[in-house]
Symmetry: C2
Subunit: 558 residues, 2 copies
């Protein structure tokens, strides 16, 4: 095991001797592989690809890669890959944790062990910065073992740096040359996979042999397409949050006097919130994409919640559970407008106690500001980032909504429309879901993604994202291949230049998961159809369940 100037002290390897029984029980589980990966296969190209949008611009940005076909692994065939090849492969984790990342690395490692001879895997430490700075560790079977089927990204750690500037590409090139890298696997989200494709293009353009393959990672579930049905980690995170939500529901029903406002991680998209709703059947679920599509205001969201609480009260239910996506505020245009105005005003003016400064707000924004609870007003005025901007991410949306609902119900009580005492509790489920032990699904899926990435590199591919599909079938029947990253791309104009982007997959209001939710939500609102999914099981009948979103989307495509 070699390593270049890495602070190994700060990343002590794991000791399996101190593992819990459950952790230990996961170490030696032998994972099923798709049958195509279990014997000899050939890698077959599909038709020429295009782009998700603006193909002319994508073609200009990726002159060497644009149009290349996606690839699929077929059993047997004539072009069976040689076992005598010896490859030097790097792997890097990029961005936030998602359960299963360690299994992707195990999959790559095992592929090379079984299907090539004398290959080497380098783990770049701390994300893309590890590539640029040449910080890596050479993986051995002993080094990889403690991380098999375990959560977290701590085997080699992750980071949020990007390879962007010409100097940074040059640094990556130097590392690739120094290590004589045949290939690099980038495990990350939409941005990281875009970055992976730019690096593939750069290497190809400079005739550097290093191939680059991406892997779809994010608990948020917003990196997906027809060929990449789901990003890994989504399944585990949603099941962990749903376990907690289910428990809170049982508590709400048993206690009979609290409304629980639960905010869920997931960034801009509401996939996690939608999936948790499908798993647990809450009384109220706010989906950001719907709020945006209906151009709802904060007041109308509040009214929607308040209205259901009043109706439930009439039925004798003075408790409930409400799910709120982390990114809700981003979907409400009036809030964005208010924040823009505040940033402008606060940059130039003093906030006087008497509130004269508020006259500078446009009337709609002024009205909205007055509608906000005092603690949120204060947060907007006081908590600023180093650039002096309002810190939207720090707003605890669940507390804000609770307070607005409280105020509204107080009003209705005075008018005699609501007769009970309203009691609310707030929760934020986030960090506890990013690093759980991967579910059987995520463990298997990630292992196949890694194994498949190894096969793609072995067959000389670059600029593809590892794609494992047919996921509703038993693992043996899963398909394995690689999708041209350029085929997933569109461009965005930033600072007058076209930038390639893999567009975030938002919740589709016409998609099967949302439609199922929409068809049930009125029933869930007034009747109590709570489901407690319970803790993730690794053995027994429930252990191999797959999340609803994926199943419904696959069904819709079939």
């Amino acid at each position: 095991m070699s390593s270049s100037s890495v602070n190994l002290k700060a990343m002590p390897g794991r000791l399996t001797s101190s593992y819990s029984e459950v952790q230990a029980s996961r170490l030696d589980v032998s994972l099923p592989l798709p049958s195509v990966l279990k014997s000899s296969f050939s890698v077959v190209d599909g038709p020429k690809s295009s782009a998700a949008g603006n193909p002319e611009e994508i073609a200009k940005l990726f002159p060497n890669l644009f149009g290349q076909p996606s690839a699929v692994l077929n059993p047997g065939g004539s072009s069976v890959l040689s076992k005598d090849t010896s490859l030097k492969i790097g792997v890097v984790l990029s961005g936030g944790q998602a359960p299963g990342g360690h299994n992707v690395i195990s999959g790559i490692f095992d592929y090379l062990q079984h299907r090539t001879s004398g290959s080497t895997v380098y783990g770049f430490k701390g994300g893309p910065a590890g590539i640029m700075k040449g910080k890596y560790v050479e993986l051995s079977a002993e080094f990889v073992y403690p991380y098999r089927n375990q959560g977290g990204f701590d085997m080699i750690a992750s980071g949020r740096d990007k390879i962007e500037t010409p100097e940074q590409f040059k640094q990556a090139e130097e590392t690739a040359k120094t290590l004589d890298l045949d290939g690099l696997v980038v495990i990350g989200g939409d941005d990281s996979n875009t970055n992976a494709c730019l690096l593939a293009e750069y290497f190809r353009g400079k005739n550097i042999k290093t191939q680059v393959i991406g892997c779809p990672k994010t608990i948020d579930g917003d990196l997906k397409s027809k060929e990449v049905p789901v990003s890994f980690g989504f399944d585990t995170a949603c099941k962990l949050y749903s376990e907690m939500i289910g428990n809170v529901m049982t508590d709400a029903r048993s206690t009979g006097k609290y409304y629980h406002f639960v905010r869920l991680m997931g960034r801009a998209a509401s996939h996690i919130t939608l999936e948790c709703a499908l798993q647990t059947h809450p009384n109220i679920t706010i989906i950001g994409e719907e709020v945006a599509a209906k151009k709802q205001t904060l007041k109308s969201v509040t009214d929607y919640i308040t209205d259901i609480i009043c109706k439930r009260s009439e039925l004798g239910f003075n408790y409930g559970v409400i799910l709120i996506p982390e990114g809700l505020i981003d979907f409400i245009p009036e809030v964005q407008q208010l924040i823009a105005e505040l940033n402008e005003i606060l940059a130039h003016d003093v906030v006087d106690e008497a509130g004269v400064w508020k006259k500078k707000l446009q009337s709609q924004s002024h009205e909205l500001f007055e509608f906000l609870p005092p603690t949120i007003q204060e947060q907007l005025l006081l908590e600023r980032d180093p650039h002096g901007n309002v810190q939207v991410a720090k707003i605890e949306t669940e507390k804000m909504l609770l307070q607005m609902v409280e105020t509204e119900l107080d009003k209705q009580k005075q008018e005699g429309k609501y007769k009970r005492d309203f009691l609310g509790k707030t929760h934020f489920f986030g960090y506890e879901g990013r690093c759980g032990l991967p579910t059987n699904f995520d463990a298997n899926y990630c292992y196949a993604l890694g194994f498949g990435a190894g096969a793609l590199l072995h067959s000389g591919k670059t600029g593809l994202i590892s794609s494992v599909a047919n996921l509703a079938a038993p693992v043996e029947q899963w398909t394995v291949g690689g999708t041209a990253l350029t085929a997933l791309m569109d461009v965005e104009r930033r600072h007058g230049k076209f930038k390639p982007v893999i567009k975030k997959a938002m919740v589709e209001l016409e998609g099967a998961p949302f439609k199922k939710f929409a068809s049930f939500r009125d029933e869930w609102a007034l009747k109590n159809r709570y489901v407690n999914p319970g803790p993730i099981q690794f053995l027994g009948p429930a252990a191999n369940a797959i999340n609803n979103t994926l199943l419904l989307e696959l069904g819709a495509q079939a």
Copy 2:
């Protein structure tokens, strides 16, 4: 199924058809019983009992029950109970939820089904108020079935009312007479079991046939004694919190830049925090009982945390996990003093902006107030209960400590003693742990507690708490009996009168669990010995593990 004027709409029965796979898989699990309960047994009395303290006063308060022996079930024997008996038994859930309550009720129900003929079980609805108001439901096999091995208290719901005044005892008497009750099982914490004993005494004193048996319930783990080794729900709650803590630890280690301040439910006692520490090995754990014993101040607790953060920083670790018990503030005398002074001052004076009012604080309290973060100062001044008192329970201790640590580290940074940017995140794990699916241990323990309670009633006992022991052995070898509730009691003087109390069992600094923790905490502080217990399993090798606290306490007694 009959029921008296209960709003059944507000308590819809559960539909197993909508259960998750894990919920459903738990329904038909056949639970192991201690072997003494599997065939014929006789109930054998022990020696005359006394009280935990002030036996003369307890004798005066319980003239009919004081001194009665505890009982134990022995296999076989001559005084085998008749199967022809027909009993009418009531059951009530009292206080906060704890996983396993439904299994206690199933245990009582099944005992009566198997060991008596034509018996009836009434479930009093919504806690002790259900007894006083005569609100109940008659339990049938179909009614009980959906709740088997499920979390929550919603089968009959719970409540916090107490039977205290002479009128309320009279109401309970009327219900007992109306239903011709032979017995009543009170499932609750220390207060509820004290109440159960008072009711047993009352019935005995008035020659009413209704016997009363208690069952030890509370996730907080503070109701225990030599005969009652643990309260039910503690095992499940600690495992649920530890699952989350373990995930946060993996996240902390993977991300490498956050300190997570985790506050844990558990009221006054720190049992839950201690058990979670033993399960997960956090860097820092604050135990309230130790803080009190060492007469620590808020400043010294802050310094302890800050010191470890600085040392870890020198080792290259800029992340960590800190556990804080819910009841911490109650253990710090200076905080109690400040709050008492604030209550006094705020009752009479206006809080002027200039802060002149602060001159009324004693100097130590003034100093402490100034040491507190502004948001906490504000909370102390603004958030008052209906009596005008400061709401201590609403203080988010984890946020308070985070802010104080932040301020202290800023100071040290200016002095050049700390060189990093400190980033903190806060969590409160509470409601999501009270209603989880019971672990195998809690499911088995509760079923035995209920089955045993049935046997005690069947044999004519009253004023006992169902006691299942030898819990480190396989279930078959568990012992079953009843402990005289008066033997657990002491008195407290309230409003000039002696009141009986079962003293809360606090963390013993000389006990085996704390000692084990204390012997490891320095290692855990600086090295990273994180353990991720993973999700609770119902099958497989880890499914039957028992919590550390119980095992260590049993070992210490052995």
